[in-house]
Amino acid sequence: MENIQALMQGFELALSMHNILYMILGVLLGIVVGVLPGLGGPNGVAILLPLTFGMDPTSAIILLSSIYWGALFGGAITSILFNIPGEAWSVATTFDGYPMAQQGRAGEALTAAFTASFIGAICGVLLITLVAPLVASFALRFGPAEFFAVYLLTFCSFIGMGRENRGKIGISLCIGFLLAAVGMDSISGDMRMTWGSGELMRGFDFLVVVIGLFGVSEILMTVEEGLEFKGKNARIQMTVVLKTWAQMPRHFVTLVRSCAVGMWMGVTPGGAIAASFMGYGLARRFSRNGPNFGKGEIEGVLAPETAAHAAGTSALLPMLSLGIPGSATAAVLLGGLMIWGLQPGPLLFVEQKDFVWGLIASMYLGNLAGLIIVLLTVPLFAAIMRVPFGMVAPLILMVCAIGAYTIANSIFDIWLMLGFGIVGYVFKKLDYPLAPMVLALVLGDRAEEAFRMAMLGSGGDVGVFAANGLVSTLIVFALTLLLWGPISDLMARLRGKVATE
């Protein structure tokens, strides 16, 4: 109950007039930042960080975290409208969000995404409010072996749940691992597959690859199909928001499942990216509408968005209480905390009560303000789909190029983006799934690093992956999910045979 009391004081602090203004300003800035791929949350927050040095820490963190919320909301916009994920965790949102937009249901998809984000974030904040100290110490139980198990679980839940040809999934996954291996190997410090090139040393930046694979290849596909005027059915009415909300209760189970996945992944520093893929994979397998996933199923938007935001929000908990950032944006915020003279760590909750609870209160309010603001913009953004594609395409390509360039201020990345655009096009033509490759690229090197650290520590004994209850549960769970797909398919086939006989 002490927490609730502290939270109420936090609300008092966050609800002062100037803090509310900062909150709205932050959300608006964040949406702009989130809509431009490449600029992204971390850069947006980093650019504005110096502006806040003159402010008191509570107002500063409210402004910056509101930018973070805004960017989270904004990231979904380009994913749904143009198939360009602005952030790594919006990738899974494109799988069904973009088909929905193409069917003229952009308004519905956007509303679903925003609402899901909000629900996910609120779940995350509730978790922080209620069990902050308890959960914080849980994250400490994660050593390299446990981290590896979490990544394995993500791969398995996504792949085992896949409905595409398993061979093709495997190939796509392997290409992703191969790409993830390029650059410096953090364990030995040696360069891998860089062929002496300074540009490749950086490895393949996830966003550059994704902008190419999804955004650019989509433009190629559409051009091939003859610049069809797909968005003409997009209706611009506020009622679409209410209609979408009316559907929400039907997807209650999906929302709850994704919240649980997200909170778990956020706290066990698995992160929002892993959470969004896992949320999507699980929903696809366990939903009644599973077979429609990938063709514009609203649950396919709800599941990853809820999970990503529940994770993204819960991830702030390890940052505040342990000083480990759960995401790049969180890392910049962390830098800010230190500059304001606040030391993130176990004592922050004790020494800086006002600040911590002001921040937590602003998470509730910032998300609410964010939801209202983005919902008001739904008709506006949905209207973009009415503009003929021939006019929008060059603009999208330009935004893609700027995005790819901004990530590392490198022209080489624009070429890389175009190259991956062609790869994505070929994949789609040959009917290979892109998602496993992207997943392997994002989490591949982290999984490898965790595996090798675990091996170094155990002296090469694979037994570390069964050394305690936590890690062995995770591994068993992962393998179950991996085999679930093939086994249930086999059972279905056997049953089918029996039925036809």
């Binding site: 971390p42 980093a46 650019i47 960080l49 110096p50 040095f53 003159g54 994250a139 400490l140 139980r141 994660f142 050593g143 390299p144 650059g183 410096m184 190997d185 953090s186 364990i187 030995s188 410090g189 040696d190 360069m191 002496g196 300074g198 040393m201 950086r202 490895g203 342990l322 000083g323 480990i324 950032p325 790049a328 890392a331 910049v332 962390l334 830098g335 800010g336 230190m338 500059i339 003279g341 030391q343 993130p344 760590g345 176990p346 004592l347 590392a408 201020n409 690093e449 650290m453 170094l456 520590g457 002296g459």
Partner: protein, 326 residues
């Protein structure tokens, strides 16, 4: 007739030096590590100090280029030859990266501006560990069946050199596990997944204060100067040196600022002056104390001589460890 008159007035009133070079575009501070790390904190503190005190009219931007353990940032600054609006924050990586990779880099490609501080390292253990001194740790390492796990930042860099130095000095055999950052290593130590870390003070201070980890000794020649209490009963100054505990390993790391090569001496002088001003502010002194950094300001010849000495020292250490590539 008009122009010479102005020039005369300028000379007479002593505005002459103000005519020297000044940045006209935003100044970019390139940080070779990811946001939130020690280098990043330093760059952002500098950015804050310069802007708050109005030391320059040009805006200051901090850019993180963390790929390949800092090599990316070094390549970028090397490519920016003659550009006086780009700065590189460096640590010992300025020698280590060229010597441990096959990349065509050398610290002499850059223009040294100033050394801002020296960073100490300490041997940290979990607060619940039985070791009370460096000697206890060495004894435990000797007695343990499986090698003890020592964590630090990066591979073939400062932290690993120290860990190897400890092995050699004490005749023990610990295993070094590289992490992507000191914060990560500190958390792993707090969770008892490691037996020790060789972190910088700033990387461990949060967990030390939170009662999760504690230092056994510092790898410096003398105890740290800061006597203000950090935890309830200990200050940085209270940590004994490792040498005094019979573990004779000493290592400190420079933190400094470089410009790209090929800039004019006027441009270099401008930044030396700028960073001299920064180093004299109270905010900077507070930052040093908070991060337990040692104030060691050097510029010009003094800095170059220091760099040459350090380079030789590291060459020998790397060659001992078998990490030397070029």
């Amino acid at each position: 007739m008009f122009r010479p008159a102005i020039a005369l007035v300028a000379l007479a009133s002593g505005i002459g030096p103000a005519m020297a070079w000044e940045p006209t575009r935003p100044i970019e501070i390139v940080v070779p590590f990811s946001p939130g790390g020690a280098s990043d904190q330093m760059a952002r503190t500098i950015q804050g100090i310069i802007q708050k005190n109005g030391f320059t009219k040009a805006p200051i931007v901090v850019v993180n280029k963390p790929a390949a353990a800092g090599a990316e940032a070094m390549m970028e600054i090397k490519g920016a030859e003659g550009d006086p609006q780009k700065l590189l924050t460096t640590s010992t990586g300025v020698f280590l990266t060229p010597m441990t990779t096959k990349l065509d880099l050398a610290w002499t490609d850059y223009t040294p501006v100033a050394m801002l501080a020296e960073d100490a390292f300490a041997l940290w253990v979990n607060a619940g560990a039985p070791y009370q001194s460096a000697q206890d740790f060495v004894e435990a390492a000797k007695a343990s069946g499986a090698p003890l796990k020592v964590g630090g930042t990066g591979s073939k860099r400062e932290d690993q050199l120290i860990a190897l130095g400890v092995n050699k000095a004490a005749g023990i055999n610990t295993i070094y596990i590289p992490h992507t950052g000191g914060g990560q290593a500190s958390t792993q130590l707090a969770g008892q997944h490691l037996d020790a870390t060789t972190n910088n003070p700033a990387e461990e201070v949060a967990n030390w204060r939170g009662g999760a980890t504690r230092p056994l000794c510092v790898f410096s020649a003398e105890a740290l100067p800061y006597t203000e209490k950090v935890t309830e009963d200990e200050s940085w100054h209270d940590i004994p040196t490792c040498a005094s505990q019979g573990l004779d390993v000493q290592y400190q790391m420079l933190r400094g600022i470089f410009l790209p090569g090929g800039v004019t001496s006027e441009q270099q002088a401008y930044y030396v002056d700028l960073f001299t001003k920064v180093s004299e502010t109270d905010e900077w002194k507070e930052y040093l104390e908070r991060s337990a950094l040692l104030p060691e300001f050097r510029s010009g010849e003094d800095f170059v001589t220091y760099l040459q000495g350090e380079e030789e020292k590291h060459r020998a250490m790397l060659s001992d460890a078998g990490f030397l590539v070029q």
